[in-house]
């Protein structure tokens, strides 16, 4: 048992439901007690979906406990088959069905005899995998199922498209800005003269999956979902893939070079150099922003980054390499994929944090005392308490992170969005200076609040402290107080402050 107040990652069935409901005309039936269909509320609320979420429950109640589901699950599947005529029904186990250990595979078999739809049992165990792993697995499972079905029925189309083409794998409902990202990816590929063969699972029909092998290569924009599918397609169909996330200028360039490379190997020699150059210089404002005087103010300011794998790694890269921000530490809650993460970010910061305990993260943020946080909604709230600004860069998120306006994180437009996000998150440079110059609006009783100990600040020293720019003021205060304690001083005078500073510099 674990005492838990908050989770960064949902249970496994959420991952499966996200995949199933992202496909077109696929229905998920959860084997779950009443009330476990909260997923529908999230789809309907967060994504403001106009359609009924294609998820229903085959309710586990007292009778099921006593007698087993017996005909119930089969009936529910067959009923849904008649009502909605889905192409595929995904029977989704939950934590409850994990313990009940009913033979769900048998229900699937029996139901498939009576229904027109294909029936699959999602191969996920509540106690072994989380939401993201489950979505990765379910996607792979569905793709595998239809490719082997297509293989048997001889309906797979192996012939590659005439023009270079790509499958985008891993665009899933309730993903962080993923629909905006998809538009941006489509634009990017169209600029590169690469056709989109298929987007999976977003709005794809399962019949379309037969077309997968037609594409020249696969693109997995997010580390969290799609990687297993891409690896499988690579192994069994020899399809190359790129798993570079085109987020931030550096990574976009690497991504495009990788595409160039893949196409080259397939016999299509392309050179995207001038495209990268034009885009970087004129479409994206981020490169110019980094050069501009504004961004100078950000130099060496301290930030911490925390979230999922993809966004955290990319965001830290942007801050570190493109904006000159000092990333004090970088962390993820995806404990299951830490090797990849550490490899990605090891050069950015010495401190890589792997934790899914928000209390640990809160303590760490407090002790680091950064000028800005980039994290999830939880970090935003931690920041609120500590009075540190926070830019939200990763799930878990609230409804305000499903914006109506166009807000991609990927591609060249994404770089603009990110630059805005970063810039707006920091206290504006000029404002900061002017506030300090004119005494600011927060100088009263500065010394007396949040003091380390019983050390007193003399009036003069307090005034002197107020003159120090606010973003370093807290540090100066802390250092001076430690110094005073070390020297066994009761009162901090202006002289003490300078002695402390001198000592630190020596």
């Amino acid at each position: 048992m674990k005492l838990a107040y908050w989770m960064y990652l949902g249970p496994a069935h959420i991952g499966t439901l996200r995949i199933a409901s992202s496909f077109n005309n696929v229905h998920a039936i959860m084997h779950a007690p009443l009330g476990d269909d909260y997923f529908n509320v999230m789809r309907s609320m967060l994504e403001r979906d106009r359609e009924f979420t294609p998820v229903t429950a085959s309710i586990v109640d007292r009778h099921v406990l006593a007698r087993g589901s017996q005909q119930k699950v089969v009936n529910n599947i067959v009923k849904k088959d008649k009502e909605k005529k889905p192409d595929l029904v995904v029977l989704t186990p939950t934590c409850t069905s994990s313990i009940l250990q009913e033979d769900l595979q048998n229900f699937v078999y029996r139901a498939s005899l009576e229904s027109d739809a294909d029936i699959l049992l999602a191969d996920v165990n509540h106690y072994r995998v989380n939401e993201l792993q489950a979505s990765d697995r379910t996607l792979e499972q569905i793709v595998k199922f239809y490719l082997s079905k297509g293989h048997k029925q001889d309906s797979l189309s192996y012939i590659k498209t005439i023009q270079p083409s790509v499958n985008i794998i891993g665009i899933v409902g309730l993903g962080f800005h993923s629909h905006h990202d998809l538009s941006e990816l489509k634009r990017l590929f169209s600029d590169l003269n690469i056709q989109i063969n298929l987007v999976i699972p977003d709005n794809a029909s399962v019949d379309d999956l037969n077309k997968i092998p037609q594409a020249w290569f696969n693109c997995v924009p997010y580390r969290e979902v799609g990687i297993r599918t891409a690896a499988y397609l690579h192994k069994d169909f020899g399809m190359p893939f790129t798993d570079i996330t085109p987020m931030g200028l550096t990574k976009i360039s690497t991504f495009i070079r990788e595409v160039e490379n893949i196409l080259g190997k397939l016999g299509k020699i392309v050179d995207y150099t001038s495209y990268i150059d034009t885009q970087t210089r004129f479409v994206s404002q981020a490169a110019w922003f980094s050069r501009s005087v504004d961004c100078q103010n950000l130099t060496k300011k301290k930030a911490v980054v925390f979230g999922d794998l993809t966004h955290t790694a990319s965001m830290a890269r942007i801050l570190h390499s493109e904006m000159g921000v000092d990333v004090a530490w970088i962390g993820t809650y995806c404990k299951y994929d830490t090797d990849w993460f550490k490899k990605e970010v090891s050069d950015i910061s010495d401190q890589v944090v792997i934790s899914d305990d928000h209390i640990v993260i809160a303590k760490l943020i407090k002790s680091t005392d950064p000028a800005v946080i980039f994290g999830t909604q939880m970090e935003r709230h931690i920041g609120k308490k500590l009075n540190i600004p926070c830019g939200v860069i990763s799930s878990p998120v609230h409804i305000q992170n499903f914006p109506l306006s166009y807000r991609p994180f990927l591609g060249y437009e994404g770089t603009n969005q990110i630059a805005d996000l970063v810039y707006n998150s920091f206290t504006l440079g000029m404002e900061d200076h002017l506030l300090d110059l004119f005494g600011g609006h927060d100088i009263t009783n500065l010394a007396q609040t949040n003091s380390l100990s019983t050390v007193k600040w003399s009036t003069e020293a307090s005034l002197e402290l107020a003159k120090i720019p606010s973003f370093v003021r807290k540090t100066v205060k802390k250092n001076t107080e430690s110094f005073a304690i070390e020297q066994s001083l009761d009162v901090i005078t202006v002289k003490t402050m300078y002695s402390a500073k001198e000592k630190l510099q020596s």
Binding site: L34, G35, N40, A57, I99, R128, H398
Partner: protein, 462 residues
């Protein structure tokens, strides 16, 4: 469905409907009982639901947490008692609650974790009260969670004044009597009726209802739950109890059977009609002739005319998810609406008897169809019926609200009725505001040039 019935009809469907898990009661009960801590013993599924359903509340360091079961707990490789002890000690150290509620979930039911057996032992060992409530989705829907918790607390109410309590009261009374103005008031009013009201309501609402009763000369002995666990009301044999919410049938049964209290079966104080009937029933039990109630109700209705104009003649469909449906339907029929269907998760005809009578009477007086009450509804069938009936308003959960709106059907999110102040005379207008908001909004949209905001045309099948 549309055939005209002369009496109430009841149907029961498949139970494939959307509702909140009953553990959601934690979100309002931890706020109500201020010295409590709620520990939900369940899985990530429960935790995920709670943190999303409670949304922003979760960031306010709520006095609630999950005891998250891991694989080793399920396969009994770990000792439940030791694990719970570890967690409860930590809670005790961090938060010093007066009571820890253990909320049993589906998982603890299935693996048959003996929470009721462990609680008294652990309680003695760590010195903090532990109350067990099995609010799981196998047995209950949404608000019934509160019912399981209150039924458990009911057993903990003191039977008579202990010496300690008496002393405490005396010393309190002493302080109290030093204050002159209070003294006079107290002396004139010190006759407490042997009546305890059960049901968790925000403190402002309990004060309002208490005041209504005091106006009739009824001073109650207390509420279940109280603001503090350490201050539960005394329930003696043959004391009277009365409920404020329709979903409290287990609590009522517990009070009657285990505590030998007498239940006053009354309609619920939702809407001015319900409030009046509730007070009148209580008065009749204590042989008090109620005064001023008829006038009061009339004034409230008159003041609400602005809203009633919007509602009259409009039809409404309750998909059913929180057990408030019968009372709300009765109120809306009195407002002049036509109710097509009252979906409800669970219908206790005995506990709700007075409310059902009032519903039938209201229909007759308003000369309108008597709606069918559909227990354990099937949401899919209901959507078919909604498509056929095209009601002016559907009261439903969030899972269906946006898709229905996209099809041109006005919806009101049913959960709001659970979290808003809807009881008593005072809150009538707020209740009406909730109901009329979607209708008003639609008027605004239709009166302007705005194109319909849906992707589908209204004629599209649901």
């Amino acid at each position: 469905m549309t055939e005209v019935a002369t009496r109430l009809t009841f149907e029961c469907e498949t139970g494939n409907y959307h509702t909140f898990c009953p553990i959601s009661c934690v979100s309002w009960l931890y706020q109500k009982i201020e010295d409590s801590f709620f520990l939900v013993i369940g899985t990530k599924t429960c935790g995920y639901f709670l943190q999303n359903a409670m949304s922003v509340m979760i960031f306010a360091e709520p006095r609630y947490a999950m005891a998250e079961l891991e694989e080793a707990d399920i396969s009994a490789q770990l000792n439940d008692y030791q694990e719970l002890k570890k967690i409860c000690l930590q809670i005790k150290e961090d938060r010093q609650p007066e009571v820890i509620f253990w909320i049993g979930t589906c998982t603890t039911e299935i693996i048959k974790m003996d929470l009721e057996g462990m609680a008294p032992k652990l309680e003695a060992e760590i010195g903090t009260s532990i109350v067990v409530a099995r609010a799981n989705g196998l047995d209950y829907a949404f608000t019934q969670g509160e019912d399981t918790v209150l039924a458990s607390i009911a057993q903990r109410c003191p039977r008579k004044e202990t010496n300690y309590l008496a002393n405490k009261k005396q010393s309190l009374a002493k302080d109290f009597f030093e204050n002159k103005s209070y003294r006079n008031q107290y002396i004139s009013n010190n006759s407490f009726m042997p009546l305890v009201i059960f049901g968790s309501l925000p403190n402002t609402v309990t004060n309002q209802l208490q005041l209504e009763l005091e106006n009739q000369g009824i001073r109650i002995k207390g509420w279940l739950p109280t603001q503090n666990y350490s201050n539960l009301p005394i329930i003696e044999e043959r004391s009277y109890v009365v409920g404020v919410n329709p979903f409290l049938s287990r609590t009522a049964a517990t009070l009657m059977r285990r505590r030998k209290a007498k239940l006053i079966g009354a309609p619920f104080p939702i809407g001015p009609d319900g409030t009046r009937a509730w007070i009148e029933k209580i008065c009749s039990v204590f042989s008090i002739k109620p005064h001023g109630l008829v006038d009061k109700e009339e004034v409230i209705w008159r003041n609400a005319e602005h809203y009633l104009k919007i509602l009259r003649g409009k039809s409404v469909f309750f998909m059913g998810d929180n057990l408030l449906e019968v009372s709300l339907a009765r109120f809306l029929i009195r407002c002049g609406m036509i109710v097509y269907e009252i979906g409800i998760p669970y219908m206790d005809k005995r506990y709700q008897a007075a409310e059902l009578n009032l519903l039938q009477k209201t229909c007759q007086e308003m000369n309108t169809i008597i709606p069918c009450i559909v227990e354990k509804p099937d949401n899919y069938n209901q959507l078919e019926r909604i498509n056929e009936l095209k009601p002016d308003l559907v009261i439903t959960g969030m899972a269906h609200a946006n898709p229905l709106e996209a099809r041109g059907i006005n919806t009101k999110w049913s959960v709001e009725f659970t979290f808003s102040q809807i009881h008593g005379f005072t809150n009538t207008l707020d209740l009406l505001k909730l109901v009329t908001k979607p209708l008003l909004r639609n008027n605004i949209f239709n009166s302007s040039e705005a194109v319909l905001y849906t992707s589908k045309s209204i004629n599209t099948k649901l």
